[in-house]
């Protein structure tokens, strides 16, 4: 009966390389801890494996053929239909809605405003340090700065002594503290930029993945029977300074094996760095006494090929690109209040504590989609899920092309 807050956390280019999805290499204790108190959808898929189309699809609960957004160059409200977004729906129900970091894809795709004021109660926050993200910020062996793919840095030497996801977490923590005592429920979306390339991350996270323990993808070659149309040439990776020096042939590569291993090391390190930010956010939620009345959703816009099929990108229909984590923490449903007063989400510093162990509370193996998120989180928060869209729904402002997965929280999985 009491309306629940929502903390909606999005990662960027995060495949299911998490401990709670069975990855034995990665160190992701804070997300694994969240999963241990949540329902984990093991087979969740996006609708198109690139940022703007995927985010617009998930946040409107419409497939790309309905948003008609397949690239980064149009705003759905003027290009296809005036569709209501997930945060807009919460805002219309009296919630205070706020966006921190990359939630909508920035630029034309969200009207250069992150869809404010439709979706958000206040303008979206973007970390100031993100403007350096694609600049020459990585120190090479010669001491000069380059725009590298592999870009582990000493954070104290970066502009402002910070990095974008650290800044976003600081802002989200500040907002949570402000909202904690308000009587108005909140919907806070926090979008992290990592593990998206470039791997501009704090250098200490590399030590979690010694290079001599890293391996190649199990299938690092382009499959013989793969139609050429299905292959993507990972142009964004090729453009980075350190990759250009490798003089890789177009379109099929391959990248030298020693560099492949280093890309994988940096991707995993970026995941652990992002996991630390998630941990900071969740422990703040807990410390403020909000863990008992806040739904937490964790997901990503799409995955990323870590060398599988000779690819180093999203931009495909392969499962490594389309499968994403999808985790729902619903207090009182996926877990119950600990009356002994133990913390729900104590922060785990992976750089200081290497051993931990969690087991997923509830898993669903059946296939689900990110268009399902809108009706499901609405329903779990106590709002009515939007009705299903008609076959042609360009004129329908509020409807869903997904399924409400609320029943999956109560019933055993069949089939």
């Amino acid at each position: 009966k009491e309306r629940r807050n929502v903390l909606f956390i999005m990662a960027d280019d995060l495949r299911t390389s998490l401990g709670c999805y069975g990855d034995s290499v990665v160190k992701s204790p804070n997300i694994d801890q969240l999963a241990s108190k949540s329902q984990v959808f093991l087979n969740a898929y996006v609708q198109q494996a690139v940022c703007a189309p995927s985010r617009t699809s998930m946040l409107t609960s419409r497939r790309p053929d309905t948003t008609r957004l397949y690239d980064f160059n149009s705003y759905w409200r003027v290009h296809s239909g005036n569709y209501t977004t997930l945060p807009q729906y919460f805002k219309s129900k009296g919630y205070f809605t706020t966006s921190v970091g990359k939630v909508f894809h920035p630029g034309i795709a969200s009207n250069h405003s992150d869809d404010y004021p439709y979706s958000w109660s206040i303008p979206a926050y973007h970390p100031a340090s993100f403007r350096f993200e694609k600049e020459k910020m990585c120190k090479g062996e010669d001491g000069k700065l380059y725009a590298n793919l592999l870009c582990a840095v000493n954070v104290t030497e970066q502009p402002g002594g910070t990095l974008p996801d650290m800044e976003s977490t600081d802002e989200a923590v500040r907002l949570l503290k402000k909202l904690a005592n308000d009587s108005v429920p909140f919907f806070m979306a926090v979008g992290f930029h990592k593990p998206h390339i470039p791997f501009r991350i704090p250098q200490e996270y590399l030590s979690l993945y010694p290079i001599d323990q890293m391996t190649l993808a199990p299938d690092p070659d382009v499959p013989k029977l793969l139609p050429p149309v299905a292959y993507n040439p990972w142009m964004d990776v090729r453009k980075r300074d350190d990759v250009q020096k490798l003089n890789i042939s177009f379109p099929y590569g391959p990248i030298p094996k020693d560099f492949q291993v280093r890309i994988r090391q940096h991707y995993y390190a970026a995941v652990s760095y992002m996991d630390t930010q998630v941990g900071r956010l969740l422990s703040t939620l807990d410390d403020l006494g909000l863990a008992d009345n806040t739904i937490v959703v964790f997901t990503s816009d799409h995955g990323w090929s870590l060398g599988e099929h000779g690819e180093w990108a999203k931009y495909s229909n392969f499962d490594v690109s389309t499968r994403v984590p999808l985790i729902f923490y619903v207090p009182g449903v996926t877990t119950f209040h600990d009356w002994m007063g133990k913390s729900t989400f104590p922060f785990i510093d992976i750089l200081a504590q290497s051993k931990y162990s969690f087991h997923n509370a509830k898993v669903r193996k059946n296939v689900v989609e990110l268009v399902d998120v809108f009706p499901t989180v609405s329903c779990m928060a106590g709002l009515r899920a939007p009705k299903s869209c008609s076959d042609v729904s360009f004129q329908e402002e509020l409807c869903t092309e997904g399924d409400n997965l609320a029943y999956t929280f109560q019933h055993r999985e069949r089939g």
């Binding site: 149309v229 499962d319 389309t322």
Partner: protein, 97 residues
């Protein structure tokens, strides 16, 4: 709840062979759309002709296909599209949302 759980994804391409804008073609350059249907057991993908002005897909203009049986091929490396009778899959694709 008793229906087969299926997910759909799609990806656009400007041409049959990889080129510099294959990763992220602008709408006007999209000529082919790869529609994927996946369940527990398989992923089936058809790469179909696409008109970016009308947003229409031409289901009779099949550029390529993929089929991976996930029990034997979880990494999706062995495309067996050419080995199967496509009528059953085409029926499923006709039910695309």
């Amino acid at each position: 709840e008793n229906e087969e759980a299926i997910s759909f994804s799609q990806y656009p391409r400007p041409a049959d062979a990889p080129q510099v804008n294959s990763d992220l073609p602008d709408l006007k350059d999209i000529k082919i759309m790869g529609y994927s249907l996946r369940s527990w057991d398989y992923r089936y993908t058809l790469w179909l002709g696409f008109n970016p002005k009308t947003f229409q897909v031409n289901v009779s203009d099949v550029h390529a296909g993929e089929l991976y049986m996930l029990a034997d091929d979880p990494g999706q490396d062995n495309n067996i599209y050419s080995d199967i009778d496509h009528r059953v899959m085409m029926k499923k694709m006709a039910g695309l949302p």
